[in-house]
């Protein structure tokens, strides 16, 4: 089967504007370096929770949003695709190294700040000097007191009548001598305690080390950025096939081939338009047909989705949820597209209607030879309808493969947790399931290294530092996890 869509290293960042002058302060990294291949004629499922970026990815492929980076190659013959891959190789390598350096730099920065914090802590640690001072003053006081007592003792020694006072003084003197000895011992201990000093020196050495490393990384980064590896052939091919670059007329033509069915049919159909106008709009906008031919096509496609011509002259809100979704499907298919993105088409309809809708989608796929991208968070539906599935988490693909394989043998810890949290409609199958703790972190500041490591029960040290890449573990099943790829 030939490749229909080839998504390469696509990023979709939404800028966050802040401050008085509304400058970009941060990015919402909705889709971060995603690679997807969709074959012709298949149904590709994309699952993940809310905030994982699957809707953003769908919208980027549809070109409702321009990708911040990356390329989307549409309908490229396989030999041309190979050529592109070869030409891209140096660029890909450079980008990967840049990314690695970037993340390393971040890690170094964090350790620098930690070390500096510790440094400041130690410097501010006055306890030792304070204790020293206290002991000094105590020593002085006791020494003064014992000196006085000795004077009194000498006075009394000459006078034998005050013997009990003499005894008292002697006892006192002895106690004082003992405490003086103790204090002096403690004082010497503290003076010899060079631990803080040593630690401070060690930290200095470490800091210097780390700073040198970061300087080196920076140098390397700048060198890489300055590298020129553009090739004109690559640019030409990209201008032809990369829909991320299309605009104007080319983009409009591309819209005929890629269409979308939205999640909620109530809001995705204009409430002020008749059904006939809604379904005919793509034809009029794309200037494919005019006049009576439009009507014919509309009735034709309505029949194919299970509605009739008598439904033409009604508003969308007069229909039930399932029928409205059919109208949305009809609108998507009236242009005879090749690729249809289904953004959770069954979430807003009832369970009983869901099956009807899914049957309809499958029949239409066979009849019109369509390729589907089925985005959903409903895992059971995706299991039944897709050939291959990709699991997304916080803007990255964590696992990809054939549906049966992934559902039978999920490898990534997130996939395992996701699948096990789906409630099974069978009370005898109630089991103790591992609850995934915490909430999905915000995509503005994703965790370093593997994005899943704060919630992963099997997180290792390397997971905090390095981001795992998608590695093929056999039969097209790819996983991005250090545990598997160790």
């Amino acid at each position: 089967m030939s490749r229909l869509i080839e998504v390469r290293r696509v990023k979709q960042y939404y800028p966050i504007l802040g401050g008085v002058l509304r400058r970009k302060v941060a990015d919402v990294k909705a889709v971060d370096n995603v690679d997807i291949e969709i074959e012709k004629g298949e149904c590709f499922g994309l699952v993940g929770e809310s905030g994982c970026g699957k809707t953003s990815l769908a919208k980027t492929i549809l070109r409702l949003l321009k990708p911040t980076a990356g390329h989307i190659y549409y309908d490229v013959p396989s030999d041309v695709l190979e050529r592109i891959t070869k030409l891209e190789a140096p660029e890909v390598a450079r980008d990967m190294e840049l990314e690695k350096i970037q993340s390393q730099l971040k890690v170094e920065k964090i350790s620098v700040s930690e070390l500096e914090k510790r440094q400041r802590q130690l410097k501010a640690d006055k306890t030792r000097s304070q204790e020293l001072k206290k002991i000094q003053s105590q020593l002085k006081a006791i020494k003064a007191r014992s000196a006085e007592l000795e004077k009194r003792q000498r006075q009394l020694k000459a006078d034998t009548t005050q013997s009990h006072e003499l005894e008292k003084i002697q006892v006192q003197l002895k106690a004082d001598k003992a405490s003086i000895l103790e204090l002096e011992k403690r004082r010497d201990q503290l003076k010899a305690d060079k631990t803080i000093l040593e630690e401070s020196k060690k930290i200095d050495v470490q800091l210097k080390d780390v700073k040198a490393k970061s300087a080196e990384l920076e140098k390397r980064r700048r060198k890489l950025k300055a590298q020129k590896i553009k090739s004109s052939e690559l640019e030409k091919l990209r201008n032809q096939y990369d829909i991320g670059r299309h605009h104007g007329k080319k983009l409009n033509k591309m819209r005929r081939k890629i269409q979308i069915v939205y999640q909620d049919p109530t809001t995705s159909l204009d409430p002020r338009m008749l059904v006939k106008d809604i379904v005919a709009e793509p034809l009029t906008v794309q200037k494919i047909a005019k006049g009576t031919k439009v009507q014919e096509k509309v009735i034709d496609i309505l029949n194919k989705v299970g509605l009739s011509g008598s439904h033409l002259y009604r508003y969308a809100h007069e229909f039930s949820g399932g029928q409205r979704q059919r109208i949305a499907v009809a609108r998507a298919l009236v242009l005879n597209p090749e690729f249809v993105i289904l953004d959770e088409p069954t979430s807003a309809v009832d369970v009983s209607v869901r099956a009807q809708l899914l049957n309809l989608l499958q029949d239409l796929q066979k009849e019109f030879d369509l390729t589907y991208l089925f985005v959903s968070h409903d895992l059971s539906v995706v299991e039944c309808i897709s050939n291959r599935v990709a699991v997304m988490y916080l803007g990255k693909i964590v696992e990809v493969g054939e549906t049966a394989q992934i559902y039978k043998n999920p490898l990534h810890p997130y996939t395992v947790a996701l699948f096990s949290s789906v409630p099974i409609p069978d009370p005898t199958a109630r089991r103790e399931r591992a609850v995934l703790s915490g909430d999905v972190p915000s995509p503005v500041n994703p965790p370093s290294g593997c994005r899943f490591h704060p919630r992963c029960s099997k997180a290792m040290d390397v997971c905090k530092r390095e981001e795992p890449t998608l590695v093929n573990v056999g039969d097209g099943h790819k996983v991005a996890c250090h545990l598997i790829n160790a």
Binding site: E49, D350, V351, A355, V422, P423, P425, P427, R430, D439
Partner: protein, 373 residues
């Protein structure tokens, strides 16, 4: 045999709209026992949410309850909630029967912090208890003591209300509010929310969906209700968060010994959480059974079709023919007859009666009525 905490008998509800009279509920009968989780399953428009609302008489016009009784047992006295005055119902809402809503972000007031909202509930219902606690302290000024005594005797006294509104003079409320906040923090600690003080200070829009739903659950359970009405609380949440919330509900049920009426359309959640299940279709209860029994041996054709339409790998999708009927002119007799593969002649004319086939397993279907087969 546990006794029934809540009984709904022959509840009929109509909505009077421009297009006609929508017969939303038609002689609905339900029972909730102490300490059990009753699942209320059905599709959109079957009336499960309205049933929950009408228990607390929260159905807004143009909806009017035409008939039936909702009998609730409280301190060994049985009350018909539909006959009671609003002032009585207000003592029940939030205290004996609480509700959790579907969208947590819109169930919370966006201009008040979570702390404000939960102390509102606590102060409303446990005021006497808190007053007594405050009065037992030694460090009250005479002013505060007199006000608290007044609050104890007549909770809605005008003096207390006016003084609570004036900025400096209402400082006496701080003591009772501090008590309420301490209670709230205790509540959220049992729900294992990290850093409850910060949680109390945050606004609903600062919270994620799962945390907001936990806040709503906390507010609902603050006064230890006997019945918790959960109206699709996890439908809008992600699967992993749904699991957290479901586990939380199960634990809290054990701690608080409440019964739960869990309204949903997801059979998987029902299988996880419920003890007994009632299936509704187009305003009627069609089958009631123990959850294991229902899944192993569904009797009503609608229940069977519902269970079969759940997508399963390897099988093609089975759907139910036809669409849900409009309730303005509901079909006569059994409301399911036009979609039922086993429909008989009698189904079109006569409404089926309740038949108890096995102990605890009730069906409304002519297939099982005596004499017909």
């Amino acid at each position: 045999m546990e006794k029934n905490l809540l009984e709904i008998k022959d509840l009929t509800l109509n909505f009077y709209t421009y297009e006609g009279v929508v017969r939303a509920l038609d002689r609905v009968n339900l029972e909730v026992k102490e300490g059990e989780t009753l699942g209320l399953v059905g599709e959109t428009g079957c009336g499960k949410s309205v049933t929950g609302f009408s228990i607390l008489d929260l159905v807004p016009p143009p909806g009017y309850i035409e008939g039936g009784k909702v009998i609730f047992e409280r301190k060994d006295k049985r009350y018909n909630l539909l006959d009671q005055k609003d002032s009585f119902l207000r003592t029940i809402r939030g205290k004996d029967i609480s509700m959790i809503f579907q969208d947590p972000r819109s169930a919370l007031n966006p201009v008040y912090t979570i702390g404000d909202q939960i102390t509102e509930v606590l102060l409303l219902h446990r005021r006497v208890e808190f007053c007594k606690q405050v009065l037992s302290r030694k460090d009250l000024t005479r002013y505060e003591r007199s006000l608290y005594m007044k609050m104890l005797k007549s909770p809605s006294s005008l003096t207390v209300r006016i003084l609570s509104a004036i900025p400096i003079l209402n400082r006496f409320k701080h003591k009772i509010e501090a008590l309420a906040r301490a209670e709230a923090i205790k509540m959220f600690k049992t729900m294992r929310i990290p850093d409850p003080e910060r949680f109390l200070r945050s606004y609903p829009h600062e919270l994620s969906g799962g945390m907001a739903q936990r806040a709503v659950i906390g507010i609902a359970l603050a006064c230890g209700p006997k019945i918790l009405l959960a109206d699709e609380p996890t439908t809008n949440l992600d699967v992993t968060i749904q699991l957290q919330i479901l586990n939380l509900i199960k634990e809290l049920k054990k701690d608080f010994h409440s019964s739960i009426i869990y309204v949903t359309h997801d059979m998987g959640v029902i299988a996880e959480v419920c003890d007994r299940v009632a299936v509704m279709y187009a305003g009627n209860v069609v089958e009631v059974a123990d959850v294991f029994e229902l899944f192993k041996n569904p009797l009503h054709p609608y229940t069977k079709a519902l269970l079969e339409s759940i997508p399963r790998a390897g099988h093609s999708f089975k759907s139910i023919e036809g669409t849900v009927p409009s309730l303005i002119n509901p079909p006569g007799g059994c409301r399911f007859h036009d979609r039922c593969p086993y429909a008989m002649e009698v189904c079109i004319r006569v409404k089926p009666t309740l038949v108890e086939l096995k102990e605890g397993h009730f069906v409304h279907c002519h297939l099982y009525s005596k004499g017909s087969e």
